[in-house]
Symmetry: C2
Amino acid sequence: MDIRTLCLGILALGDATGYEIRKMVREGSLALVAEASFGSIYPALAQLAKEGLITCRSEPQEGRPDKKIYAITEAGREALRRVLQQPPEPDRVRSDFLAALLFAEAVAPERIPALLFLRREQLGSQIAALEPLLDDEALTCTQRFVLRYGLNQLKAARAFLEEEGRRLEEELRVSSAAE
Amino acid sequence: MDIRTLCLGILALGDATGYEIRKMVREGSLALVAEASFGSIYPALAQLAKEGLITCRSEPQEGRPDKKIYAITEAGREALRRVLQQPPEPDRVRSDFLAALLFAEAVAPERIPALLFLRREQLGSQIAALEPLLDDEALTCTQRFVLRYGLNQLKAARAFLEEEGRRLEEELRVSSAAE
DNA sequence: GAACACATGTAAGAAGTTACATGATTAT
DNA sequence: ATAATCATGTAACTTCTTACATGTGTTC
């Protein structure tokens, strides 16, 4: 899903400014799912507006640039529906942690316990950051579902590391002692 | 982790050609972790060789281009170690499926059951493709760990969809009937 | 008074993908 | 015969990020 479609989809959930879209992508349930920077969001919004898939109204502000509030049009909804008819691509996971584990075994096995520890920490704080979002009463049931899905995945990873991480460390100790 | 480092790491696991690296990234435990196309692998290998982090020996072949077998050097190992000293970045998940779910609620809620179904199918075949790899006796314990980690995540997702997917569909039926 | 939140936008550059170029061998 | 596998490489293109440009208001 490219940034254009992402912006279009977010605007289907409600009117927003570019700034707000960025915030949603960084903090909300959308953060689990996608990424986007200002440098890609603003041009995407301009393009969508030019094509009539969204509209823009300016709200004057003092001491800062006018707020540009974008709203999806019926043509935009239709375009989004067409995209959603396609089966979504498989999720892509890009895990530097797992890659580092694999490579560390070859060149720096002593680094592995630290990698496991760091990841457990990281997962813990991600979970802690996400969990309170569930308390928001305003969530739709699908938003709640997505959040819970994300939490489920993070917790599954943490549980795996708790249970199996020590076992891995043990195996490595044994095999390095055998040399 | 950029493609350069990825190639360097793979060569730390053993000598390989560009073609083989591509295969590992598509099929092995590495497929869970990273992606790379020929268009990025070949230039990366050429660059690494120029910098002395890997070496290249050519093996003549008939009827096809010479096989270029790359091997990591001690300088390469050292460079890789330096990279591994840095804490790895948090995993990035890019899930068009979850995004589609969120957006579908707004513009095409009738599409949600199909999305859930498709994802369950997709997870099933990913799991089925990965599971037999565990039988490979040649896996190092870390490679096995990574594979099992990946399987654990896929199964956690599938279990979540089995249990909670139906509940979501039910909730949506109720709320659409209420209109 | 330093840092962060608000607010938009552009331009240069990084990083990678896709498609092209070439062609034998092997399996279906 | 048609497609897939083996094998390398380049060039054009897409896509996105980072950094710059600008400035006020608010919080620590």
